[in-house]
């Protein structure tokens, strides 16, 4: 069965390593924070100026001066710090943040990502996405395998305006975990429980490499 949003987040949480600083984008990526394994310590960065972001506040304890990049009210944890936007992107560009998780509209088999603009529709802006993808060494995309029309979002060449080139290393969708290899394109690493390789093949339009063994994810 295909994963729901929480399933995707749960699978991505398995990628987190002890001691990492992590930036989570808006949407499914935000949910990753709910599934951090008990035996590791990570700190979440939000690019509007906090390291050590905590859960949402209890009712009545919301603070208008404490929000995340999605403009949601949040809390800080012991050891957290606040800083201004230029310092925030300084730590992003200088690769102090070990993992970036973000959503996408399209990912190419070269690791290009498009996630900020649909021609003909109201453009809201790229926010911090272009800065993040241009500098982060470890980028995981969290998204559905296909769009609402049923077309594959894993394609040979992005058709939408680009956010960054050759930057995506791994993709976790409702159907699969895939890595991006410069030589092989998408490499299928894991299947969602009960999802067949054939289904993933039929819903992937970019170059797809199938290793001999593609295990089911363990969640």
């Amino acid at each position: 069965m295909a994963l729901d949003k929480n399933g995707i987040a749960k699978r991505i949480a398995q990628e987190l390593q002890n001691g990492w600083y992590v930036n989570l984008g808006i949407g499914i990526p935000t949910l990753v924070a709910n599934y951090v394994q008990d035996n590791i310590k990570v700190e979440f960065q939000s690019e509007n100026g906090i390291l050590g972001m905590g859960p949402f506040p209890l009712e009545g304890e919301e603070d208008a001066d404490l929000i995340n990049a999605g403009k949601q009210t949040i809390t800080s944890l012991p050891g957290s710090s606040f800083f201004d936007s230029s310092m925030s992107f300084a730590m992003i560009r200088s690769k102090k943040i070990q993992l970036t998780v973000l959503g996408a509209m399209e990912v190419s088999d070269k690791g290009d990502i498009a996630n900020w603009k649909i021609p003909g529709k109201m453009v809201k802006g790229m926010g911090g996405a272009m800065d993040l993808v241009a500098s982060a060494e470890n980028i995981i995309v969290a998204m559905q395998h296909t769009n609402r029309k049923g077309d594959s979002k894993l394609i040979e060449k992005c058709t939408l305006p680009i956010t960054g080139l050759g930057c995506v290393k791994k993709i976790v969708t409702d159907l699969a975990v895939l890595e991006v290899s410069p030589e092989l394109g998408f490499v299928l690493r894991e299947r969602a429980p009960g999802v067949s390789v054939e289904e993933i093949v039929s819903k992937t339009s970019g170059r797809l490499f199938l290793p001999d063994n593609v295990p089911e994810m363990s969640l």
């Binding site: 936007s85 800065d131 241009a134």
Partner: protein, 233 residues
């Protein structure tokens, strides 16, 4: 001690004229200079080019200047939580330049640091790079970006003193410090305005040298855009 304290909002806006480029601190509605925005709306200054990460919402923040047709151009990284913004943008009344958030912040910081331009990797291979000089550093393409030049910067801080020293709170800091540095005239509104000597010099986020005018804001509504809460167990 050089006092930066002003006593009314007319004095805060002295010299602000039509067609100027103006910075506004804040991220979403967090840490925006509410009192200065209200005063600019009242003054009616027109054709402003506004540098601000976002463009407010309908009826609050920069939305107040948009609905009064005071803004000619927005330079932002993320906009459009705002019907009036969308209407003006689609009808061509409002010019919009979207730039990556880190580049926006650094163009402010550079403007306040005597650095006329810098190279950044953000936006390489995208439409943001169109027409800009590209150079390779450490094997990777970078884009030349220029410092912002703004006649005014309006910022909001938590505490300030008569000397113009500023301390920010939480994530309301965001773009305020780098914009405070960049304004030719920087106007800071604060929740608490204290006598010189009341703030620990070790704790100052922005030294008063960057602040030209400081006042205590009358009202801080501090609207929340996305009120999200955890359930009590």
């Amino acid at each position: 001690m050089i006092s930066k304290v002003i006593h009314d909002l007319d004095e805060a806006l002295t010299g602000l004229e039509d067609d100027m480029t103006v910075m506004f601190g804040g991220f979403g509605l967090c840490g925006i200079p509410e009192n200065s925005i209200a005063a600019i709306r009242k003054k009616g200054t027109k054709n402003l080019t506004c540098i601000s990460n976002n463009a407010g919402v309908d009826g609050f923040g920069l939305g107040l200047l948009l609905e009064n047709h005071q803004i000619k151009k927005m330079i932002s990284s993320y906009v459009g939580e705002n019907d009036e913004f969308e209407r003006q943008m689609l009808s061509g009344e409002l010019e919009v330049e979207l730039i990556p958030q880190g580049t926006l912040a650094e163009r402010c910081r550079a403007g306040g640091s005597g650095i006329p331009a810098f190279f950044t990797p953000a936006g390489h291979g995208t439409e943001v790079a169109a027409g800009k000089e590209i150079r390779i550093f450490n094997g990777k393409p970078h884009i030349l970006e220029h410092a912002f030049d703004a006649s005014f910067a309006f910022v909001k801080a938590w505490k300030g003193d008569e000397a113009g020293n500023l301390i920010f709170k939480g994530t309301a800091r965001n773009f305020n410090p780098s914009m405070a540095m960049a304004g030719k005239i920087t106007v800071a509104e604060v929740e608490e305005l204290l006598p010189a000597g009341s703030l620990d010099p070790n704790s100052i986020h922005i030294p008063g040298v960057f602040v030209h005018r400081i006042f205590k804001g009358n009202v801080f509504e501090k609207r929340i855009e996305q009120r999200t809460i955890s359930k009590r167990n």
